[in-house]
């Protein structure tokens, strides 16, 4: 199986380990992730003003490229913010032909291809794992189940809301938890899993982010979690980097992308998974379940 993915800006910079671990884990499952030949930044946040069509150009240009140049019906995203922005823009122009026409007029001189007609499906990689490959099939491929590892799946906002584009039940999502169970981990659940991490306030006012992560990490730890698992590069930054800077958190929880834990359960090399690129080192926890550097397993201590 061959899947086209849209990386977005952050997956190419501070979240390189997300991309690398996704490619490696999917390859292990027999799926090739190949990058779109051309793409631009999606704009990160969907504009919420009714008259601001200019900000729809970036995401629709990506979708036009998928449809007209690569002739695909589906594009997969890794980043939650890209997923949300592309999905909401797609929905907007599919429901409003007049707006689609205006956006297409703006892009006329872009290249020789026709305008976007609204046929592309925007899909998050987690949906591919659940709906196309299937968690049962993934479970069968697990070499080293994450036995004894207590993980807290954190969803944040952009995977779930608004409900029209969400990939799971907005109030009680289970998609990451179900994947973790397939990998053999113990899932810690708490309603705080759907609360915002502080998002872009990490730039302008860190105190807002600190308040958020103290609550999220506090709740997860009080339920016995040993690690957080998530899918959004901005949530990763806030829950990993900012958590490490927060002096009120005495015992920080390591943070993983779900693709990294898939790699660990598949026995992939830790260098490929980029486990050294985290601010809070997650490797001591992995050594506890027996995972060694090269993806081999030593003595299982739990």
């Amino acid at each position: 199986m061959d899947i086209k993915y849209y990386p977005g800006c952050t997956v190419k910079t501070s979240a390189r380990n997300y991309e690398a671990s996704a490619i490696a884990a999917l390859r292990y499952l027999g799926v090739e992730l190949s990058e779109l030949e051309q793409w631009n930044c999606c704009g990160v946040v969907h504009t919420l003003s009714t008259d601001d069509l200019m900000k729809q150009l970036a995401p629709i240009r990506v979708l036009k490229h998928v449809e007209q140049c690569e002739e695909r019906e589906e594009v997969v995203t890794l980043c939650d913010m890209c997923y949300n922005t592309l999905s909401q823009a797609n929905r907007l122009v599919k429901d409003d032909p007049a707006k689609l026409k205006t956006v297409n007029t703006f892009m006329e001189c872009d290249d020789s291809h026709g305008g976007y007609t609204g046929t592309v499906r925007v899909v998050h990689l987690l949906q591919v794992l659940r709906d196309t490959i299937g968690f049962q099939a993934i479970k069968k491929k697990v070499k080293y189940p994450l036995r004894g590892m207590k993980v807290f799946p954190y969803y944040g906002c952009m995977l779930l809301r608004p409900g029209e584009v969400g990939i799971d039940t907005p109030e009680d999502p289970t998609i990451i938890g179900d994947l973790m169970r397939a990998l053999g981990a113990e899932v810690i659940d708490d309603p705080v899993k759907i609360e915002c991490c502080g998002s872009h306030h990490t730039v302008g006012d860190r105190s807002i982010v600190f308040e958020r992560i103290e609550r999220i990490i506090g709740r997860a730890r009080s339920k016995g979690a040993e690690a957080v698992v998530l899918s959004c590069p901005l949530c990763r930054f806030n829950l990993d980097t900012r958590q490490q800077e927060d002096r009120t958190i005495e015992l920080p929880l390591p943070v993983f992308y779900y693709t990294q834990l898939m790699g660990v359960a598949f026995g992939l090399d830790e260098a490929v998974l980029g486990l050294n690129e985290h601010r809070i080192d997650p490797r001591p926890l992995l050594r506890e379940i027996g995972y060694q550097k090269k993806g081999e397993y030593g003595r299982i201590t739990t």
């Binding site: 977005g8 800006c9 952050t10 910079t13 501070s14 979240a15 930044c41 704009g43 990160v44 946040v45 504009t47 919420l48 003003s49 009714t50 008259d51 601001d52 900000k55 980043c79 913010m81 944040g156 906002c157 779930l160 809301r161 608004p162 409900g163 907005p170 109030e171 759907i194 609360e195 915002c196 502080g198 998002s199 872009h200 306030h201 990490t202 730039v203 302008g204 006012d205 105190s207 807002i208 308040e211 958020r212 590069p233 901005l234 930054f237 980097t241």
Partner: protein, 133 residues
């Protein structure tokens, strides 16, 4: 003495916000669900349901409130509103009313290297989109 009148508020802010956001502001019955679920409530001066109430009365203090900049568009309120009002869009409209006066809420040139260190692009672009016109 309180005087009750049928006169419309002098400010046209409510119409402007309704147009920019596409939301029915007067549909709100002040149940407070938006405020009770808001993860940023502690950093806000006016709670989200209060912003709506002030708007209904044409009170322009909403434009100078801290709340509209604290809202990060996480859509928790929009998802839960029993009147189907997308509060995140109303907050965005209020930011836009300010930003379209050509006054940015942040000064990008004043940001320090320490502030920017290691910050992912998605955080920067989102921050600029929410705080600059």
């Amino acid at each position: 003495m309180i005087k009750i009148t049928t006169r419309r508020p002098a400010s046209d802010l409510v119409e402007r916000v309704a147009e920019l956001s596409g939301q029915s502001i007067f549909a709100c019955y002040q149940c407070g669900t938006c405020s009770s679920g808001c993860p940023f409530i502690e950093a806000m001066d006016l709670h989200p349901h209060m912003v709506l109430r002030h708007l209904m009365f044409g009170m322009e203090d909403v434009l100078t409130s801290k709340t509209i900049w604290v809202c990060a568009s996480c859509f928790m309120c929009a998802e839960r509103c029993p009147r189907d009002i997308d509060m995140a869009r109303i907050m965005e409209a209020l930011r836009q009313v300010n930003l379209r006066e050509n006054v940015d809420h942040i000064k990008i040139s004043h940001m320090t290297e320490a502030e920017l260190e290691g910050v992912p692009q998605i955080a920067l672009v989102a921050h600029f989109r929410k705080n600059t016109g």
